[in-house]
Amino acid sequence: MSSKRKKTIFDELKALLGSRVRADDMELQLYGKDSSVLSGVPSTVCFPLDAEEVQGIVNICNRFQRPFIARGSGTGLAGGAVPVGNPVIISTAKMNKILDIDLEDRIAWVEPGVLNLDLSKALKEFGFHFAPDPSSQQVCSIGGNVANNSGGPHCLAYGVTTSHVLAAEVVLPNAEIVTLGGIDPEPTGYDLRGLFIGSEGTMGIATKIAVRLTPNPPDVRTLLLDFADVSDGALAVSAIINAGIIPAALEMMDHNAIGMIEAFVHAGYPVEAAAVLLVELDGLSGAVEAAVETIKDVAKIHNAGSVRIAKDETERALLWKGRKNAFGAVARIKPDYYLHDTVVPRSKLVEVLNQVYQAADKYDLIAINVFHAGDGNLHPILAYDAREPGILERVHSAGDAIIKASMDAGGVLSGEHGIGLEKRDFMHLLFSAHDMFTQDLIREAFDPQGLANPLKILPSGSRCSDSFKQHVPEGVWV
């Protein structure tokens, strides 16, 4: 090849990163997927080690007008990290250092690729943890948590990611490095930090994150209530909150979920039950004791079969292991799943759950419900085998029905998994054209060239569209 050959984007990335840039076909395909059902193929995968390298990559992408997508651990459930438009994938996985732990101010600075649970484990010896605990916490990255404003079972009492992130160093889409937010309690000016959290990589790439440390509670009690009727369980959820208790976590699992979870953890989940509630109470011992008694009363009124109280940390950990591995255990029923993430008012839980089961029945699918009941965040899983002909149409029809039921009940589209690619074309159900136009303006202010994770969250041009399938961009497979 002649030395005067025009340099390709790959050449330039290679000059910057050496062996940490890849374009082998097989490898590229692995970075075409996250934990959702969608997939695409990127042009290149980069593994930067610090903010300067991320900046370098973004600069190169700007010069070549090539889209770029940040990727953490690839556990997103909405296709946020799925490549569209032949992009460069910027993996933050090797940026995984905990930079500083400041116990006095209760802040830690971490790189985006630090795994959520690794952070809490590192904080354990000091008596602290990072409160947002997505069920994927053993593997998802803090950067991904920030980008999706992720929640978790314990966010019922503690709030989601945005309540626990004080500042972020960000490489903006124009390759400028800025720090959004600050460690002072009330930063002046617009809360750009708040805007960035939940922006799913469309407003730049977080390269350092300041997280708030939460002290471990003095006392914790974990209870498992079982019900012979799903509706009783759902009613008990509201009853617990109405009794004035805000549990640290309040999770519901239905019969199908219990079966697949128990097959993995052997924690003694009641496989006969129609539903169980996993309730966690934390705080000072006296208050926790009193709350346990109240919950026992509620359980009786709502026909709970039994109330099991974890006797020690091992039993507690085992019960949680079951809950946290639920999505991953679906293949025990069917090898593929499509998952929704709507939030409905607690008072409508019974009604919407019934509609979920009806939708599954109508399209001859299996519905599995395992979700954050305390804040009405449903996670109906439609389990299927993609090898069955015609199955995808049925899955999408049932999904549409579930979304419609949730919206009709006054709910929202996504509780915590983000919009990404998968829920993008449902946005018009929630927002008017004017709303979406305004959101697009905000996005443009950050990314006028449209290179940062394009075609995610907002439909392109933010025009309304009706059906999910028709609008999946070219090059993406479901």
């Binding site: 692995l30 090797k94 799943y337």
Partner: protein, 390 residues
């Protein structure tokens, strides 16, 4: 770009479909932990298998991705969907060994020696002599091999002790200690002759299934009767327990059902172990992957140890130490990086002395300066010291 060649992996279709790509296995995979790359993760490896199975072609890059797996099977215990990763990887390697140049002649030859006890003993003695003459470079990281080995003598026929290949040639003292602990329960120990030899685990890992089957048949013949067969090497134990599946015969299945990790057997006979009050400081338990993730009987080690000594747990959820049978010789760099994580965890634990029920892990960690023993070597020494006091 490397050359493509035709290949059919022959992995069970349902097994291949059973991965939902959730990624929950990633942090439990040693090679992902040190690379942070999908190609070195269980999820990635499964996706690669799917690609190759669908296309019917592979290339050297694919082989190198498959070969970089330690086959520790930590992903299996972590996977909520029960994806049978170990068998899938074994099938893949068998197909690669059969259909491609994955296992070159010289490597096959090396594996063959394991099944030839006399040659192995001779070779080992040669290495031992060369080591004394300082002619073996230390970067080869071989353990110091004994010049002379005392012969083990049978003491009855209540249980068998499986002695294996490398371990018998290099670490017979461990067998001797294990034997004494078993005997301390009152049981008589029977030994297979020289003909039992190698269990074939390394052959299965390398994809040399046919050879492994031959070895399995030989082993089965060497253990007549119905008495339990005790194994003090987690890797060998896992393999012997799998003979039923490997050979698919009722005879092999019956053999496998007689196999116990020696700790499993002792845990059932705790009341027969000598009662001793010892005030030893607690010891760190490092679980061999093939005990924890394959046999899933690592708790038994604690039950036995705790009769005599306290145990300290590591905080890495049973992440592999990097030994992986032949892995540490074939991939020394990755193996050392994986080991570094283990060393860090050992440092954090507050303990100093480690026990591990697998010769491979012992050697691999010893080379990094860890003070490590087989759990039953420690128990044996505690019992011996107490006897002396009396």
């Amino acid at each position: 770009m490397s050359k493509n060649f035709k290949v059919s992996l022959g992995i069970d279709e349902d097994a291949l479909a059973s991965c939902v790509s959730c990624g929950l296995c990633l942090p439990h995979c040693p090679t992902y932990r040190v690379t942070q790359e999908e190609t070195a993760s269980p999820r990635g490896r499964i996706a690669l298998m799917r690609q190759v199975e669908a296309a019917g072609v592979a290339d050297d890059t694919f082989i190198s991705f498959m070969d970089a797996c330690i086959q520790c099977r930590g992903c299996e215990t972590a996977c909520p969907s029960g994806v049978p990763f170990g068998p899938m990887m074994e099938t893949t390697r068998e197909a690669l060994a059969d259909q491609t140049s994955y296992q070159p002649r010289y490597r096959r030859l090396g594996y063959s020696v394991l099944g030839m006890p006399r040659l192995l003993a001779l070779g080992s003695r040669l290495i031992a002599v060369l080591q004394r003459l300082r002619l073996i470079p230390s970067r080869l990281a071989l353990p110091r091999i004994p010049l002379r080995q005392t012969k083990l003598k049978a003491s009855g026929d209540d249980v068998w002790l499986f002695t294996g290949c490398i371990m018998d040639a290099w670490m017979r003292d461990t067998h001797a200690a294990v034997k004494r602990v078993v005997e301390s329960t009152g049981a008589g120990v029977r030994l297979p002759g020289n003909e039992a030899g190698c269990c074939g685990a390394l052959h299965v890992h390398a994809g040399l299934t046919l050879k492994a089957k031959k070895l399995a048949n030989k082993v089965i013949e060497a253990f007549p009767g119905t008495n339990p067969i005790l194994v003090d090497s987690a890797g060998c134990g896992a393999q012997l327990k799998d003979y039923g599946h490997l050979l698919g015969t009722t005879k092999a299945a019956a053999f496998s059902s007689r196999v116990f990790d020696v700790h499993e057997w002792l845990a059932e006979n705790l009341d027969k172990l000598p009662k001793i009050n010892s005030d030893e400081p607690p010891v760190i338990v490092q679980d061999p992957c093939h005990l924890r993730h394959v046999q899933r009987s690592h708790e038994a080690v604690r039950l036995v140890m705790n009769q005599y000594i306290g145990t300290i747990e590591l905080d890495d959820d049973g992440l592999c130490c990097g030994a992986g049978g032949a892995y540490s010789s074939l991939h020394p760099e990755t193996a050392a990086e994986v080991r570094t994580r283990k060393l860090e965890s050992i440092n954090r634990s507050g303990g100093t002395n480690v026990v591990s029920a697998n010769p491979g892990c012992m050697l691999h960690l010893q080379q990094a300066g860890v003070s490590i023993q087989h759990p039953l070597e420690l128990v044996d020494s505690i019992i011996a010291r107490a006897m002396k006091r009396e």
